[in-house]
């Protein structure tokens, strides 16, 4: 569906320019009501349901869509839906639903696992100070959801307007310039609390669980698109007088990709069902981590072996192989590396104690 609105040439356009995202596609998504699909009507959304959002995520993944959908919707909107800060909700959710504003999240400060314990960002009750890096969609975002410590050394989740003189941002070069990142520095920037103390920890869990499912669908879409690209090439490219797809080395490589994609798809479907249920299901955290782990694995492998299937041409700048190779890796890191999700999964299994 999105392939019509967003061919891979649109992805390449962002990759090769300083543009932050494809504004035409972004406006189309807004006009189609897709940005507000999971936002309550009260806050300007269409309140379809989370399953709808999963379907959209998969399509965005297939198209490698160069838009801030994940930052703004999977993370910012889902976080705002959960806060008790009604002002923030009323102010920002309708703008997210209409596409008028872009929100993002800024958890990382430097290389290594970002945690509340090691954050150097401070919130004094009114103002925020610290530097976050790398922030996805940091250049285009209107506001930033970020982590900090308050004066009592407790965890806080903060919302800061990005367009104030006390917020400085700079583009950061990454492995996937088709999605832009920034370094954001807050110098006594005005900001408000979304959650504090234990509530902040809970909110972080919620952010991770929900966005993991949505990112997993996006990864799944990408993994399937990479497999299809490899399949097509393997059928059409000849070597030694026969299609390269008739060689077991290629055949079994594609079968291995298919296997990983199918396992990921199954885990994503289950996670979507737990995400879609009315009650915040106890299984959601486990299902989300499981889907995230297998979808990361699937997309990384599919993208990598798609290059290999293409041979030399796959390593050229003009080939679309690179778009998948870059995106797969970026998506696997965006809400924390696979190794951290594995650790999280086992911790959850231990807590459930029935693993």
């Amino acid at each position: 569906m999105l392939a019509d609105h967003c061919p891979l040439t649109a992805v390449r356009e962002i990759l090769e320019s300083n543009k932050t995202h494809n504004t035409k596609l972004w406006n189309q998504l807004a006009n189609m009501g897709l940005l507000g699909a999971a936002i309550p009507e009260k806050y300007g959304g269409t309140n379809m349901n989370m399953l709808e959002l999963c379907v959209i995520a998969e399509e965005l993944g297939r198209a490698l869509a160069p838009v801030p959908f994940s930052s703004s919707i999977y993370v910012a909107a889902e976080t705002l839906k959960a806060t008790q800060n009604e002002n923030a909700k009323k102010h920002w959710l309708p703008k997210l639903a209409s596409g008028e504003a872009i929100g993002t999240f800024a958890f990382s400060e430097k290389a290594g696992a970002p945690t509340f314990a090691n954050t150097n960002t401070a919130f004094d009750g009114h103002k925020l100070s610290g530097t976050k890096m790398p922030v996805p969609d940091g250049m285009s975002a209107n506001f930033v959801i970020t982590t900090a410590k308050n004066k009592k050394d407790q965890a806080v989740i903060i919302l800061a307007d990005a367009n104030t003189p006390n917020v400085k941002r700079q583009n950061v070069r990454t492995i996937d310039p088709s999605r832009k990142y920034a370094t954001i520095t807050f110098h006594d920037a005005p900001a408000e609390i979304l959650a504090e103390g234990d509530k902040a920890e809970e909110m972080m869990d919620r952010i991770l669980n929900r966005s993991a499912v949505l990112f997993a669908f996006e990864q799944l879409g990408g993994a399937d698109a990479a497999l299809e690209m490899a399949q097509t090439y393997a059928r059409e490219r000849f070597a030694f007088g026969r299609p390269i797809g008739s060689f077991q080395a290629i055949k079994h490589k594609l079968a291995n990709i298919y296997v990983k994609n199918q396992l990921a798809r199954s885990n994503c479907y289950y996670a979507a069902m737990t995400l879609g249920s009315q009650e915040e299901s106890a299984d959601l955290a486990i299902a989300a981590a499981t889907a995230r782990i297998s979808a990361s694995d699937a997309f990384i492998f599919a993208a990598q072996e798609n290059v290999q299937t293409h041979g030399g041409i796959g390593f050229t700048w003009e080939s679309d192989c690179q778009l998948f190779y870059r995106r797969a890796r970026t998506l696997s890191l965006v809400i924390g590396a696979q190794r951290r999700w594995k650790e999280r999964l086992v911790r959850l299994l231990e807590m459930k104690n029935v693993a």
């Binding site: 594609l254 079968a255 298919y258 199918q262 396992l263 199954s266 885990n267 231990e350």
Partner: protein
């Protein structure tokens, strides 16, 4: 994905549960231990128990849920059959004696035999009175299923069979078997085969158990020495045996069972009890990462099976994509077994159930998995199937399709 029953399905499930509750004992929480207790039972005892149970099950209509009522079936749906199997698996009931007969042999008969034959054979099979086996594999026809060398020659109204089959499950307790043999070696490989059913007690049939690497004997070699088969037991036309065999094979992948195997959760459990050189194994990041990876794979398999179920419930036929289940689970079994042995360190070699954690289940599954990666299609054959039939990759170059079978080069 099919997670919840429709009201009709729920009603059927309840009926099944009532039947099972009246007739069988539910399994303990500890499946692994229960499964092991069953494996200690002698085969003769197991068989007797199985026949008794099969009779009851057939009388209640559950032995062949999807078959038409004409043949003693229930005329039910595939999803009802799955529901029955899901429920039956929760009880201590003997398994593994009738699956091949009812899952592969009799359906082939139903597709190809005349009414008289069916009247004679279907009911005794259904009620567990007669057991059937499938005689396809040969020493030179494993992955290459059509490379069959067993010969049949016409002799009046009969055929004379000579040759050898191998990897025949249950041949030693079977009364009948279905077999494909070469009737014309001058034809190309797939065209000179003819299909029969035969009496396993006929003169000239000799069954020898194969001792496996694991020490047990679940399979047999079967030798045929001038075995006489009436032409009335032929299924399909002369020379069209491959076509008939394909009907049978369509069902094979579903029939190869997996048994219970130790999984990620079991690793987590033994990790709680074991020490590494740096403290409790359960705190070791490497062990935790592996547990997470296998857990994600296992859940992926579990929900892939549910997706198949959903397809079934919509009336779709599950295709070759189900091959992925065995590709993943056989290798996972082997790797998890090996990894648990690693965690047990020097004592990982111990296979004595009294001394080794989990009754040496990990050691046993590490041995078994080496065979499971081969039985019912090797990892390599299954990847070919997925690539060709699901992903549309071109077939391997074939050098054996056109030549007369007798001219094909052979190895050992």
């Amino acid at each position: 994905m099919h997670l919840n029953d429709t009201p009709q399905e729920a009603a059927f499930r309840k009926k099944v549960r009532d039947f099972l509750n009246q007739n069988a004992k539910p399994k303990d929480a500890d499946n692994l231990k229960a499964a092991r207790a069953e494996t200690r039972e002698s085969e003769a005892d197991g068989l007797a128990r199985a026949k008794k149970w099969q009779k009851k099950k057939a009388a209640a209509g559950y032995a062949a849920i999807t078959w038409p009522k004409d043949y003693g079936g229930m005329g039910g749906t595939a999803i009802q059959s799955v529901i029955y199997n899901q429920e039956e698996a929760k009880y201590h009931l003997p398994r593994g004696y009738f699956e091949i007969g009812l899952g592969m042999c009799i359906p082939t008969l139903i597709a190809y035999a005349d009414k008289e034959t069916l009247t004679r054979y279907v009911k005794p099979a259904l009620y567990g009175e007669e057991i059937w086996c499938q005689l396809f594999s040969e020493p030179a026809a494993g992955s290459d299923v059509a490379g069959i060398r067993s010969r049949v020659k016409r002799d009046g109204d009969d055929w004379i069979l000579n040759g050898q089959k191998v990897w025949t499950s249950g041949a030693h307790f079977s009364d009948y078997g279905i077999i494909v043999a070469r009737s014309d070696p001058d034809q190309p490989k797939h065209r000179g085969l003819t299909f029969f059913f035969l009496d396993m007690h006929a003169p000239g049939v000799e069954v020898r158990p194969i001792k496996q690497m694991s020490g047990g004997s679940n399979f047999n070699e079967v030798f045929f020495n001038d075995v006489r088969i009436p032409d009335s037991q032929r299924l399909g036309e002369v020379g069209e045996g491959w076509k008939v065999a394909l009907t049978t094979l369509m069902n094979e992948r579903l029939a190869v069972g997996m048994g219970e195997s130790a999984d990620a959760g079991d690793l987590l459990e033994i990790a709680r009890d074991l020490e590494t050189e740096n403290g409790p194994a359960v705190k070791d990041a490497h062990i935790r990462a592996k547990i997470a990876e296998w857990y994600a794979e296992s859940q992926g398999l579990k929900y892939t099976k549910m997706r198949t179920l959903t397809a079934l419930s919509k009336g779709e036929t599950p295709g070759p994509e189900s091959s992925i289940i065995k590709i993943v689970s056989a290798r996972k079994m082997q790797d998890i077994g090996a990894f648990a042995m690693e965690m047990q360190d020097m004592a990982g070699v111990v296979s004595d159930g009294e001394l080794s954690p989990f009754g040496a289940a990990f050691q046993q599954q590490w041995i078994w998995a080496a065979g499971f990666r081969i039985a019912g299609g090797t990892d390599e054959i299954l990847r070919n199937i997925v690539a060709e039939r699901v992903l549309g990759m071109p077939a391997d170059i074939r050098v054996d399709k056109a030549k007369p079978f007798r001219d094909l080069p052979t190895g050992r």
